[in-house]
Amino acid sequence: MTMGRLGNAQPTEVIDRGAKLSFRWNGKRFGGFEGDTIASALAAAGEQVFSRSMKYHRPRGILTADYWDPNLLVQVGDDPNVRAGHRRLEAGMEVSAQNVWPSLRRDIKAANGLVGRFLTAGFYYKTFMRPARLWPAYERVLATFAPGGKIDLDTPHRYHDKRYMHPDVVVAGAGPAGIEAALAASADGARVLLVEHEHAVGGHLRYDSRDTAVAALAELRAALDASDVEVLTDSTVTGRYEDNWLGIVQRSHPVAVERLIKARAKTLVVAPGLIERPYVFAGNDRPGVITSTAARRLINLWGVKPGERAVVFTANADGDAAAADLDRAGVEIAAVIDGRQGHRVSSTQGSPRAVEAVVSGGNRIEADLLVVAAGWTAPTSLLNMAGDRPVYDPPAARFFAADPPGNVLATGGLAGDGTLDELRAHGAATGRLAAQRAAAVAHRLQALTARAQPVGGEEPPWAPDDRIPLGRDPHPELYRSDTHGMVDFSEDVGSKDLMAAAGEGYDSVELAKRYTTATMGPSQGKLETVNTVAAIAEARGETIAAVGTTVWRPPYAPLTLGALAGRGFEPVRVSSIQPWHEANGVHTILAGQWIRPDHYGDPAAEVRNVRSNVGLIDVTPLGKLDLRGPDVAKLLNLLYTNKWSKLPVGKVRYGMMCAEDGVVLDDGVTGRLGDEHYLMTTTSSGAGGVWEWVENWLQTERPDWRVHVTPVTTAYTSINVAGPKARELVSRVTDGVDLSPEAFAYMEVRTATVAGVAGCFMWRIGFTGELSFEIHVPAGCGLHVWEALMDAGDDLGVGPFGLEGQRIMRLEKGHFIVGQDTDGLTLGPSTGLGPLIKLDKDDFAGKPELAWAVGRPLPMIVAIQPDDPNIVPAEASQIVAGDTNQILGRITSSRMSPTLGRSICLGQVEPELAAGGTKLTVLLTTGERVGATVMDHHAHFDPTGERLRG
């Protein structure tokens, strides 16, 4: 067979014969025109074989000449699996065949074809079991047969963008019905988006050479241009999700590689047209067998002559039109076989690379081209995704929409058949219905939004669907001829495989699909699902309607991970002091969304400086909730395990929160700033969660309590000034507060002006074990106050310290960290803070479980010191029973203490090991077992807390 370019320009062609493009195919130079697809340019140059099939590596040529063509997947540069039937040719493209070795021409894996009778679908389930140790080797062999192109892992993630849209009506498919729907909806005042998969609107009109079609297309295009409809070409509606949330991929975009559009459509019109279905017979995958729409596209869009001498197997008007186009293009018509008269094609003959003859009714007809028009598949995917279960209509030989939800309307081929005028009229009626219903949806949405503009007027009625239905043309049911052939071209699954699978018990479509992998390849079932169903039906002796079909899943057309990911935009949180940190050698650590200072080069030195002089740490991510109202104390009593009713103004108290199952949820200090004004702090990681917890209680269980909650975590920059010289430093920059120990004791809070900034809160708390003042500065002034403290404390030896230094000092004082020393099962009493759990209070969160836990031996958090002071066990080292593998606990926090010059830990141990002085065995991660001792107190350093109360 020889394809070639037609000398005369075709009236409907989209190529620009004046604009030549050159490219490479498998290393060889080729030429084409602007407007060609990769496949049409190669076909025009006489190429016949474009790929080799997955399993048997049979040569494959053009089948449908569009996006869905399973034989036209090629590698373009670093882009694998490009659809050559759709991708437009560009100058300089490097195109190559996929999965062939050594070359497309002489592929060694075609030897598979020789053993085809043994390599039936699913053969691998029945072998390769023994010897089991060879399976990895078998796998490697199977992997070399894997289809698909090559991915270059150094491919940069180029620019992808996303867009949100809020159209009233989205029309998927710009054939004549779809265009009319868009125009009508727009004329009715709706905001309309029209999405077309191909590079230009028009659907099947684009490759219809008849005068009426050409004129209609021109008319429709002009009307579209004159309208307000937004049109996207080379774009596909990939999925219809809950409540008409649509994913749309826009492939041709001037800037982005591919763009994902997310649209909440009020109504969706589905008008994808029909996809021509291949016919199943022996030799149906030989290069030279093409569908009728492929023939018409080749001739009318790209001026390609598909062959010299053709047999046309036609069962419908489009097949007849293809015969006319072929004739006009100078192709000799050797025979027209009419499927409506009961005639069939049985097989093709020839070399693996080309058709040489067609066998029908026992006769052998010489030809190099077989054009097949056996019927249509309705691509009902978007309707399926909307919950519809399409129904098969035997006289029309295809599926139709059954009962989609009211905001999804089908038109065009999905709805029925008719003349061009009838299809256009149905489309227009659909557009008007879509617009009316969209208006009703808009009204309802606004009415549901209490705080929006009051919605005007009555809700428009939900328009009834009184469109005149399209008819259904009878069509012979042509699925399989009297021979067996290929059903899934991508997966090399034939009708014989499917019927054998059904006979073996894989006799539902879902089981057969999984067993043979039919419909699971890159064409996503568009060309093979109905033939698969038909094969199963035949094997079971049932009708297609009885067998049913598979569930169509999104995306309707594949889209890149890049488009789905978009720009990779992820927010980062930093405090106002970040510029200072960065300028001063900070090593940062990620804590949730926050970037925090971990240390500035030497955490041990930072610890020593804090304990001898004074240090500053930026603790801005500390959760802060401003609580106001007459019932705040009640709230604190409810959420913390201890008592809060008598906390005087100006005092601060530590509290632990438990969840309703008694598990430790969070902890922190809360201070009373005024009669009805408190400031609660939480852990940094718990900030958001505790706020929601508070709101949940107030809104749903205690709605009568008067408490206002304002999260102020990021409204204040929080600076902790710690060390024996802390008071001296803070006094140098503070106005309005008497900082002497008698006036401002440990665990008290004051409002102050710091470095000229009014409205700062300052409290004396001490998790590091040193005298410390924690200053909360309105965030805009945070950096200023930090710098002021640094300047003022120069002669005092002030220096920054980070999370690592703070962690060391906290551990020296034995303060447990929620979420590190506690876990998802740690009950309140296990923290050692049993005395803080006041069971004589009324209801508080966790009380019932905490009450029932009394007297029950629980795992306990304890302070531990390894016997060898130089061994610092890794966190999560297990505590074991002697030489056995029995687990008795684990190390949860562990550091070398610069203050004590030895290693210190916190851990969880079984209740019987919790007493001070108990000897433990710690299994280091190296495998070595070492001795350790449980300490009497959690604090390894200054257990009575003298230093911080000063």
């Binding site: 409540d243 309703e660 949940n696 809104q699 749903t700 209801d843």
Partner: protein, 90 residues
């Protein structure tokens, strides 16, 4: 992307809210037996049917509210109510 009907903000994309789960009446902690309390903590009706459930409008008005949703079809019904924790199966 489910549209969830917040009573104040109107129908919003579900990612803007946090799902709060089946509405369960909280037993009286003073009188509940351990089995009753743990039934409240752990056991659920989990129907494939209309369910009374709670949502938190996390990115909008920050109010908790209760709605009835059919867990098989994801339809919502009844105007949503300010948060309350009355029983599960609607």
């Amino acid at each position: 992307m489910l549209l969830v009907p917040c009573p104040y903000c109107g129908p919003r994309n579900s990612v803007d809210l946090r799902y709060g789960g089946e509405s369960q009446p909280r037993p009286d902690p003073a009188t509940a037996t351990p089995e009753q309390w743990r039934g409240y903590l752990y056991r659920r009706d989990n129907p494939a049917d209309w369910l009374r459930e709670n949502w938190y409008c996390r990115s909008g008005c920050r109010r908790w509210f209760t709605v009835e949703r059919n867990t098989a079809t994801n339809e919502f019904r009844h105007p949503p109510m300010p948060g309350d924790k009355r029983g599960g199966k609607a």
